[in-house]
Symmetry: C2
Subunit: 322 residues, 2 copies
């Protein structure tokens, strides 16, 4: 036995730790948790870099029996759509190998928090997507996430681990560079103008979508690691609360927070392909279960922009200046 000087740290594995959410979650947990950071690329000092879908890698990750596993690793929707085999290998087989490695470890039942997505839903939609709406994804990425949700429920039901899946809204404002996701412009039209750069808007202002700030998303994940899962019953996957806003409303928020001069950096350049993809995406949710279980969304899209400025340490613009 090792003598502990302070309170025992929670041993925590984060897959996809080099991603945007992974990095923010690691930073948030670093003081109270003994972190194992994993990604296919190095996720910082002491992190493990390997391909989760390669034989034996998942076993190595769970060998240390982490108490909590945040499974965030995935390739994004655009890449999964472009490379069918890679999408299934990383997003489905990688997850299944992780779940199998846990199952095969005797006497071990960690909390598994899985980052799912609103891409598990596909049009046509009701006015607001409720907790009993069918999972009929329209992308390979959404299909893979839905399958992982089903596996998570079944493995939890069988007692192999204690899982909870969170359908994260589209994260906005995503800091850093655009990724391959077709949803990239939702962040781009806020982020680039705030950085004094032009941003392309490929869809009409009437397009409505469902958002959470990175800060809200980290809050969801941390809450999911602590929640009493007995409250979930058999349905282990939850749509997270968020903010439903049209692109026009996003732009109005940007105008209120940052002023007209910033808004003028948005350039309209319609893209039929992106419009067609976005047409199949959720617009609004009635995330009743998530709210009842204590998950909290941002209060407004204005707040989403303000959190971006605060969290990324961007000097606040003066709305008055034009």
């Amino acid at each position: 036995m090792v003598a502990h000087l302070g309170p025992e740290l929670v041993k925590t594995l984060i897959t996809g730790a080099a991603g945007m959410i992974g990095r923010k979650l690691s930073a948030r947990l670093s003081r109270e948790h003994d972190l194992i950071l994993h990604d296919v690329v190095p996720a910082g000092p002491g992190s493990v870099a390997s391909d989760l879908s390669a034989p034996g890698e998942a076993e190595k990750l769970v060998a240390g029996r982490p108490d909590v596993i945040f499974h965030l690793a995935a390739i994004v929707s655009g890449e999964a759509e472009a490379d069918f085999e890679k999408g299934y290998r990383i997003n489905l087989d990688g997850t299944r190998l992780l779940f199998e490695a846990i199952r095969k470890t005797g006497g071990y039942k960690p909390r598994v928090v899985f980052a799912s997505s609103i891409a598990v839903f596909g049009a046509p939609f009701p006015e607001a997507i409720g907790d009993e709406f069918v999972n009929a994804p329209l992308t390979s990425y959404g299909t893979q996430k839905t399958i992982c949700e089903l596996l998570l429920s079944d493995y939890s039901r069988k007692g192999f681990f204690d899982g909870i899946g969170l359908r994260l809204p589209t994260i906005c404002v995503r800091p850093g560079k655009p990724n391959l996701a077709a949803s990239g412009f939702f962040s781009g039209i806020i982020r680039e103008p705030l950085a004094g750069q032009e941003a392309v808007l490929p869809v009409p202002e009437t397009v409505r979508h469902w958002f959470a700030s990175p800060r809200a998303a980290i809050g969801f994940l941390v809450h999911a690691a602590k929640i009493d899962t007995a409250q979930l019953g058999a349905r282990r996957n939850l749509s997270m609360p968020g903010i439903s806003a049209t692109v026009g409303e996003q732009i109005e928020s940007l105008r209120r927070v940052a002023g007209e001069k910033v808004v003028r950096l948005i350039r309209r350049q319609p893209d039929a392909t992106i419009m067609r993809i976005v047409d199949g995406w959720p617009r609004n949710f009635d995330a009743r279960r998530g709210l009842a279980l204590g998950f909290r969304a941002d209060a407004s899209f204005d707040d989403i922009i303000r959190f971006h400025l605060e969290d990324e340490k961007i000097p606040a613009p003066r709305p008055g200046s034009a």
Copy 2:
């Protein structure tokens, strides 16, 4: 080129051909179709016996490029629940290997008719399960069927084949011997008394469930092979119409068709385990899409019993005799 003397036969593969539905479907199609029958055990003269989940077997089955594939092969719910690894290997990996073998065959796009199940749904339920109700299965079997439905939709969306999944109601009256399914008694309480044998009823008469005769099920499959799938849109999996009946109503039908003497062969012997399993099962559907697409259920539970007598060539009992 082979010279054909008559009209060209439709080349058709049936997996699970040795099962009850497989045998009835083969018999129905034998005149108009050039059949490849497959199962893990021999399914008659000229059939192929192999394990679909073994490497290379799926490729062999699709090498002859069948125009239509009826994928019926599966292990039943009781066995999938008892043997977790076998359930995933046969019901999920076997299906995925078949789908992959089709995808990897160049310039080939068969119609794939997949036998899914109402086990893709789990309680709590609305009064009648509609076409947009969430897939939240409560068994490994239901999880595996749901995952295969999702794969079928995604492979069809990508143009790798032209798939349609049918959620078959519980087949009643199942001829022959009971199988490992926990739903076996729904048929047993009709079949055994009609054969002059005692049957055990493990649940109360108030239990409601969703039924189709083998004749209706074969009708669904044959219709699905011919339907214009453009009508389906992106949602390729359909709940089939059926008959919703309580066990009490089943027994009333049996009394009308076969008389009191036959009904007296049902012995009540409550079984808490079976009751608990059945509690999570669907009771009633609003199968609007299936009906609109021309799928036809039995007209009544009385008909279900009469079809059993006709199709299994059982001498009709005289209801008057007691």
